[in-house]
Symmetry: C2
Subunit: 639 residues, 2 copies
């Protein structure tokens, strides 16, 4: 445990510039490779053509090779007969060389052949060199085919072969050595492996290796090593002195007591930057040892990805002479306020989709430690250090992590969470991989608000009206006014208390929640489950103040289940499927209806049509019921 002291703190831009300057002449060596294996490689020299192409005048069509002058005058009323027998006209196929004394080709479709194919009648002339591919029409020997630092495409391979180049000089793939460190980490090797208590699976090295390979590098991942000063120093030095172009040392770059990387780099070489004003990714170290770049990568998975993306990937590309492509961007309407700390550039992971004629972008939860904040996102919002955040409804520039067409087909879903949404997500991708369902969880009321504000395609909701005992309808009237929405029943589901196996605290009714020995875990206000709890408390004449933990809120059924499982609380209200998933006991309280709210104008969108098709399918409904606690008796009903 140590105070975080950054030796040499910089902004992202400064840090990138300092690093790039140190590496100004860091191109890898060149090597000559077989052109057939050169796709995506980068030329290290200009490439001139060795052959012209075509190498000869050749027929561009199947037909008769002739001297054009002998066809002049041919017309409908004055056909000309050409003798094939005498060699006046010579049958020729596309691509074949034109006989020396010929200078044009008549398309076979324009020739009336005699039965014995010894004569052909034409009714139109050809001009000299018509239907002839002339020498050098495509490529002229000696001309520049590709400049230096050109990334070769499949078609380029064809041009190289055609021009007589079976080999091409390219930059060698840069070699990177990735050293994972951390006494608290273990390698995951088999699917039945149990992780010792207090340990975490080492995953960053595999992520960074895949990123490096995508950037064209050859990757060596060292075995995981423990946080020991001399041990790390030994491995780092070995790596730097090996056949490698860049070394990253993972974790150990924050300033905890086990974090030696910065001291070791300082001892062995130079620390150029320690600490970058970005979040996640702040504890990055940029150094040089023996003229080789060494990067200390933060330990949190999201920090590691952003640090690697911002500092290592550009170096790998630069070493190959590759273009540093900026990610594609779109302008989108921000669906929520996002406060941010001034003085730090924040990389917020977002879900972006198209609603009507504009893009909408929704933040996923924060947390540099949560890898799913990256895997669930399809885009990034960068909030500069000069800003203290962005306001809801403002237009922001979003960097895309996926191709634009996929963003455009993303189905935005928000509101209350239900496990059947995951099943829909799976069925949707199975039916068409182009339709990703991206859901965020804001509770039923939050979902209705998102519909109202045109920020979602679909909202999941299970809001009980305490007066009528009806679900959702009265809320739609109250909040959506005359907006035309369609309410479709997804499922009926059991809500009940999730408790530890064996129900050690004997919780049977809402009244038990007020007992002094019971700690409750609640859902956030605005969620249907919270409304349901309040309704049940009201029915029983109980006061929320009497419940310990009523103010502790979680946002999903699974988070509530986890709270119970981990012993933080004794009971939470939630669905049977969540309890089953974590092998908790379940005390049923009531059955409720869970609906999908869809603005009617979206019903014709192909991905919505697909979704509606899915929920009406027997195989889908069967899988829903198999999860437990669900009834699909009215699934797909429009109310």
């Amino acid at each position: 445990m140590k105070r975080k002291i950054y030796l040499n703190m910089h902004t992202l831009e400064e840090a990138q510039q300092i690093f790039q300057e140190q590496l100004a002449h860091s191109l890898t060596d060149e090597e000559e490779v077989d052109v057939r294996n050169a796709c995506d490689r980068v030329t290290s020299r200009q490439v001139p053509a060795r052959f012209s192409s075509p190498a000869f005048h050749g027929a561009a069509m199947d037909g008769l090779a002739v001297r054009a002058e002998e066809t002049f005058g041919a017309a409908d009323d004055s056909p000309i007969t050409l003798s094939i027998a005498s060699g006046q006209a010579i049958p020729i196929n596309t691509g074949h060389p034109l006989p020396d004394d010929k200078n044009a080709v008549i398309m076979i479709e324009h020739v009336l052949l005699s039965e014995d194919e010894q004569q052909g009648v034409i009714r139109a002339p050809v001009y000299p060199w018509q239907n002839v591919r002339k020498t050098g029409e495509d490529i002229v020997a000696t001309e520049l085919l590709f400049p230096t630092h050109h990334t070769l495409s499949p078609a380029d391979i064809g041009a190289l072969l055609t021009a007589g180049c079976p080999h091409v000089w390219v930059r060698k793939k840069p070699r990177i050595t990735i050293i994972p460190t951390g006494t608290e980490l273990v390698q995951l090797s088999t699917a039945d492996q149990e992780i010792p208590s207090g340990k975490t699976v080492e995953s960053n090295s595999a992520v960074l290796a895949a990123m490096a390979r995508k950037a064209g590098a050859e990757v060596k991942v060292s075995p995981l090593i423990a946080d020991d000063y001399d041990n790390i120093k030994k491995h780092l030095l070995e790596a730097v002195r090996s056949d490698t172009d860049i070394v990253t040392i993972n974790a150990g770059s924050s300033a905890g007591s086990a974090d030696y990387a910065v001291q070791i780099i300082e001892e062995l070489g130079d620390v150029l930057v320690h600490g970058v004003t970005i979040m996640p990714g702040k504890p990055t170290i940029l150094g040089i040892i023996d003229n080789k770049p060494v990067v200390g990568i933060p330990g949190y998975p999201v920090s590691a990805i952003i640090s690697f993306e911002q500092f290592v990937v550009p170096v790998l590309k630069k070493m190959q002479g590759m273009d540093q492509d900026a990610p594609p961007q779109v302008t989108a309407t921000l669906a929520k306020n996002i406060p941010s700390r001034g003085g730090i550039e924040e990389f917020r992971r977002m879900i972006t989709g198209r609603i009507d004629d504009h893009f909408v972008t929704v933040p996923v939860k924060k947390g540099a430690g949560a890898i799913t904040t990256v895997t669930r996102a399809n885009s990034i919002l960068r909030i500069p250090g000069s800003s203290e955040g962005e306001n809801k409804n403002s237009q922001v520039q979003i960097e895309l992590l996926r191709p634009l067409p996929q963003i455009e087909k993303t189905l935005l879903c928000t509101g209350s969470h239900d496990l059947t949404l995951d099943l829909i997500r799976d069925f949707l991708k199975k039916s068409n991989p182009a339709y990703p369902l991206a859901s965020t969880h804001v509770g039923s009321l939050g979902g209705i608000m998102a519909v109202k504000e045109h920020m979602t395609h679909i909202a999941g909701s299970h809001l009980l009206d305490p007066q009528s005992g009806e679900y959702n309808t009265s809320y739609l009237h109250r909040y959506l006014g005359d907006q035309d929405v369609t309410l479709i029943t997804l499922v009926f589901r059991q809500q009940g208390f999730m408790v530890l196996p064996g129900n050690p605290k004997k919780i049977e009714t809402v009244a038990d929640l007020t007992r002094e020995d019971v700690i409750f875990i609640n859902r956030q206000s605005g969620s249907g489950t919270r409304v349901l709890l309040d309704y049940e408390l009201d029915k029983a004449g109980l006061d929320a103040d009497e419940i310990t933990g009523y103010d502790n809120e979680e946002y999903t059924h699974m988070a509530v289940a986890v709270s119970v499982l981990s012993g933080k609380s004794d009971a939470g209200l939630g669905i049977l499927a969540a309890a089953r998933a974590l092998k908790l006991d379940f005390v049923p309280v009531t059955e409720e209806r869970y609906d999908l709210i869809i603005p009617t104008r979206f019903l014709e969108l192909p991905m919505i049509k697909q979704l509606l098709d899915i929920i009406n399918r027997a195989d889908f409904q069967k899988q829903v019921e198999a999860m437990g606690g669900y009834s699909t008796r009215e699934t797909g009903r429009v109310s």
Copy 2:
């Protein structure tokens, strides 16, 4: 030689639909792979999490683990002293498990430690679970991590490992067998290989193999086989019966006399489509043999690429459960009229760039046989069968072959051609791989018109004013009026007659061009070289009508040189460098100035600044002079 008869002609859309329907259930088998090698693979099942992450409540910060309740009341005026010695507060590092009896972490930055580190003073409380990463905050065991048909990214690998999944079920890579055929073809193997007269290098198989690999396939390329019915049949059958998922047979799909593919597929299986109304790519065959898709790919390189892209790549992706990404598009202003045949969907290769605030797109030359029409292009214009072409200045949708940021940095150059432009292209890419120079050749006057119409960044020009003997200036006044352009001298260069080695026709002056035994090859009107010839003829009192071949036009110096080399003509006017490149003799006629015309508003564009920097560099000028016939004595001068 045979009439082209298409057995079963369809539009692109029909053909794709017919093929996809036949292959509706054509997913490859699944296999379980190491997650670390699963990047870009596609899940074949939904993937649930096996572990929760974090697996335990852990410190989110370096600091002191405490019970939050024991910090309540701490404030500036009422600090609380916590005992580390007694275990009331326990030093903890980020990521480490929270001791069982603690429920919060105080950041070390907020603690005043005693010298012996046995006590810590705090001036603010923490609330329960503050700075704690709770169990399952990232991933909850059993939850859906990824749906079926999800393409795995590097971050996804991290999520899988974190969730306890060292292996993952994915679709097998589809296997494709590519059979090149053609008696007129030879394989290129070594760099000193001479190609027998009349033969052409086989290049399509390598191009298609690279395209297939980029689509995730495993590729087998068969040896090149001759056009022999039984031989092709034997190889095709062998391929279909081998461990392969799809077979393509290259060339042999048009209807020339050597084209057996369609008959063989008909004999062995079913021809679903023969002939697609696209250009290039019309003679495509789509067939099925033994339930395996067999595609007959046209022989011309551009036809082959488009046919493969439209029919084979979608099948390869579909077999893996991959999304069929549509290419990104932009709207651009068309720089030229493009007539097109109705009834046929045309794929025109284009160069697209950004001029001021809009995109401009310029067609490269046609010719399905010219691979460079693809390699020089960065985009595609699809002209539907219902259209007879597009008009200049109309707004058209352009499909991009390169990432948008690269299109935006493309430097458009047009006008007269000079070989130093290739050198600039090379130096530009060397200095920054992000700056591609894309040049089209329309003659000096065409270049000035493109400047006038805001269709280019740069125009090359060497237009002699016969009155003043000056270059370019008077033309700028005449055609560009008050448009603010900057004229920068690139080079002085020798113009002269290119003739066969030894100058067999003894051509020494323009007067010799009028001799009966001399065939001339001219440049197109509007080109500076044409203006120069007319000027020289005028000076000598000669009439253009007296020159045989005056009406034969080529668009570049190199094309003129090729015409002479191939014996089609005896002499052409051009630059020394072009003559040297093809080892022709050169008879000097005059020296001329070649300038770059750049709208002044573009001088601040980073790629233009880079270009101007390059032409002023000594190493650049040295290479220019080394090409022969060039003087750089005024290179870079602004006139």
